[in-house]
């Protein structure tokens, strides 16, 4: 039988060539790395104390003393942005550790075992998915007082489990049904070995790109929660609460809104772009968070 498409197709080895990552990808990686290093080494860096008030510079634009200007209390914006990235990165990575820590093994196990285990877990997850996650997060965070960074991480992390589960399970399912897994089973390999050696390396690229997009989504969510006063309490800076605080004096000092917005926007753009390029590189169908 002739394959319908064969007559028009370019040679196979050309079609399967992977999409190149491109220079912009590495620029984004570098920017992301810079953000992470800044957050880790904020105390060591020659930065002004983010809580220190400089009464000579209140609500100023960029200057030599304060490169990105100061807020209405005379605090250095650059320093607050660098320190603020700690909250975003902590919440983003922490909650994804929980989400992937629970959702990924469950998803891979369900896809590998299938049968009753898969049916039960998937049913539970789909019911949970129907519950609007953002409302659940807001509701739980507002009722579960007093709020700490850890609780925020736990709540967002827990809310992300069903989403992670769905993505990982469908990715693992498409691999667990392929021949090389059957071959390994026939050869008598132990289940744990198959999951670690065959399944995990193949699911990993999808997981990584979804992880990055997940971090971006959580960082956005943290910003929104900060607006509602449901994130870390002032005066601890976070990108979200910096933009939020800028609103009241927007007409006097627009820099206060613009710089943290740029910081957050570039951070999210890098994450999304890296995730998107990796997905294209590994030829994974687009998944939605």
């Amino acid at each position: 039988m002739s394959d319908p498409a064969v007559d028009l197709e370019v040679p196979v080895d050309l079609a399967t060539e992977r999409a190149p990552l491109g220079p912009l990808f590495w620029i984004c990686v570098a920017w992301l790395g810079l953000n992470i290093l800044g957050a880790i080494f904020a105390n060591v860096l020659p930065l002004i104390n983010p809580l220190a008030q400089d009464y000579n510079f209140i609500n100023t634009g960029p200057s030599l003393h304060h490169w990105l200007g100061t807020d209405d209390l005379g605090r250095d914006i650059l320093s607050r942005i660098v320190y603020g990235s700690r909250v975003s990165l902590l919440v983003g990575s922490g909650s994804m550790v929980i989400g992937f820590g629970v959702g990924m093994p469950l998803g891979m196990l369900a896809a590998y075992r299938r049968g009753r285990f898969d049916a039960v877990v998937t049913a539970v997850m789909y019911v949970l998915l129907a519950f609007p996650a953002i409302i659940a997060v807001i509701a739980v965070l507002s009722f579960w007082t007093p709020r700490t960074l850890l609780k925020i991480i736990i709540v967002i992390g827990a809310a992300s489990i069903p989403l992670v589960y769905r993505v990982i399970r469908s990715a693992a399912l498409s691999i667990a049904t392929r021949e090389f897994v059957t071959v390994a089973q026939v050869q008598g390999a132990r289940d744990s070995r198959i999951i670690w050696r065959e399944l995990l390396p193949n699911v990993a690229p999808i997981a990584v790109s979804f992880l990055l997009i997940g971090v971006a989504t959580v960082v956005t969510l943290e910003g929104a929660l900060a607006f509602l006063g449901l994130s870390v309490n002032p005066p601890t800076p976070s990108w979200g609460n910096m933009i939020n605080e800028s609103r009241t004096i927007l007409s006097q000092n627009p820099w206060l809104a613009i710089f943290p917005s740029i910081a957050l926007g570039l951070f999210l753009l890098s994450l999304n772009y890296i995730g998107d390029r990796l997905r294209a590189h590994f030829e994974v169908a687009e998944v939605k968070l």
Binding site: P132, I134, V140, G223, R247, S261, Y273
Partner: protein, 316 residues
């Protein structure tokens, strides 16, 4: 078709049940006595006793749930101790504002996304496609709260357009022109976010569809490009778009609170935040219930629309 709808409805009822249990249990998540949570610490012993009787707070949780859900089904979500108005009445005034906001933003988003995706997909990697794809990707990374802050900065402060800034909300009933003005910035913000998603989903699916054999077949019939795009390519490509729209609109209902809060537009989101900060827990519970059920209903509606657009879905 009927069987499909019946099965989906059964799932719907199950999910709504789970949501109601979750919303009910929220009150018990709080430390301390539920009566104190609902009535505040300064309530008189008589009021507490009345509430205990009304909600059956002495009895087991299952009975409490049954009592509560009985009230809910009769439209009684309780009376807020703080505002002393029925929770349902508060929701009734707030909900239409959200619906108007969502309607305007969705009309704008679809009106932009559909024609532009059609044009971009006709020449994948052409100039228009590259520009729109890069632009939409950038916009995708900008959270709505940044967009709204920057819009306020530009439109209300720099251009000085009245009726667009924070706290300028006027209800539809009192002056519809000013009402539209006051909803302009939040509508645009929500529209931008939706537009980006719809454009990307539809463009990707159109490009896939346009490579299908039945498109070549449609060309070989001698049909014009316009007809092929709209009659043959659009419908099969819009299945994922509808699913996405359902999730997205649900997300706007649940997540529209940021723009509402920032511009003091008294929709459900704004009311929810206000209720949280004033510890009006019955109102929080009511809004959580209504919004969650609303999100599920919207998803159900769009699933149903999907099965109409692609009849294969309902018949496996």
């Amino acid at each position: 078709m009927a069987r499909y709808v019946a099965r989906r409805l059964a799932t719907l009822v199950g999910i709504v049940f789970v949501i109601s249990v979750g919303s009910f249990y929220l009150i018990h998540l709080l430390p301390g006595d539920p009566a104190t949570v609902i009535l505040g610490t300064g309530a008189s012993p008589a009021a507490r006793a009345a509430l205990y009787r009304q909600l059956g707070l002495n009895r087991p949780l299952v009975t409490q749930y049954l009592v509560w859900i009985g009230h809910v089904l009769h439209g009684n979500l309780g009376v807020s101790f703080i505002s002393e108005t029925p929770v349902l009445a508060t929701i009734r005034t707030a909900l239409p504002i959200d619906l108007e906001l969502i309607l305007i933003s969705q009309v704008l988003a679809f009106a932009g996304a559909i024609p532009l995706a059609m044009r971009a997909a006709r020449r994948p990697n052409g100039i228009l496609d590259r520009t729109l794809s890069a632009g939409s990707f950038t916009l995708l990374s900008i959270p709505p709260f940044i967009i709204i802050v920057l819009l306020v900065l530009l439109v209300s402060i720099k251009w000085g357009l009245a009726n667009t800034g924070p706290s300028s909300y006027v209800s539809l009933g009192s002056d519809w022109i000013v009402n539209l003005e006051s909803l302009a910035l939040p509508s645009i913000t929500l529209a931008v976010g939706s537009f980006v998603i719809y454009f990307r989903v539809l463009r990707a699916d159109l490009i896939t569809t346009l490579q299908e054999e039945f498109i070549t077949m449609a060309r070989s019939k001698g049909l014009r490009q316009r007809r092929i795009m709209w009659r043959h390519a659009f419908r099969p490509s819009s299945v994922a778009l509808l699913g996405t729209a359902g999730v997205n609109i649900g997300g706007l209902l649940a997540g529209g609170f940021v723009v509402e809060y920032l511009l003091s537009i008294p929709g459900l989101g704004y009311t929810l935040i206000a209720a949280i900060s004033s510890s009006d827990y019955l109102l929080v519970q009511g809004i959580v219930l209504v919004v969650s059920v609303g999100v599920v209903l919207i998803n159900f509606l769009f699933d149903f629309l999907t099965s109409i657009v692609d009849p294969r879905i309902s018949r496996e």
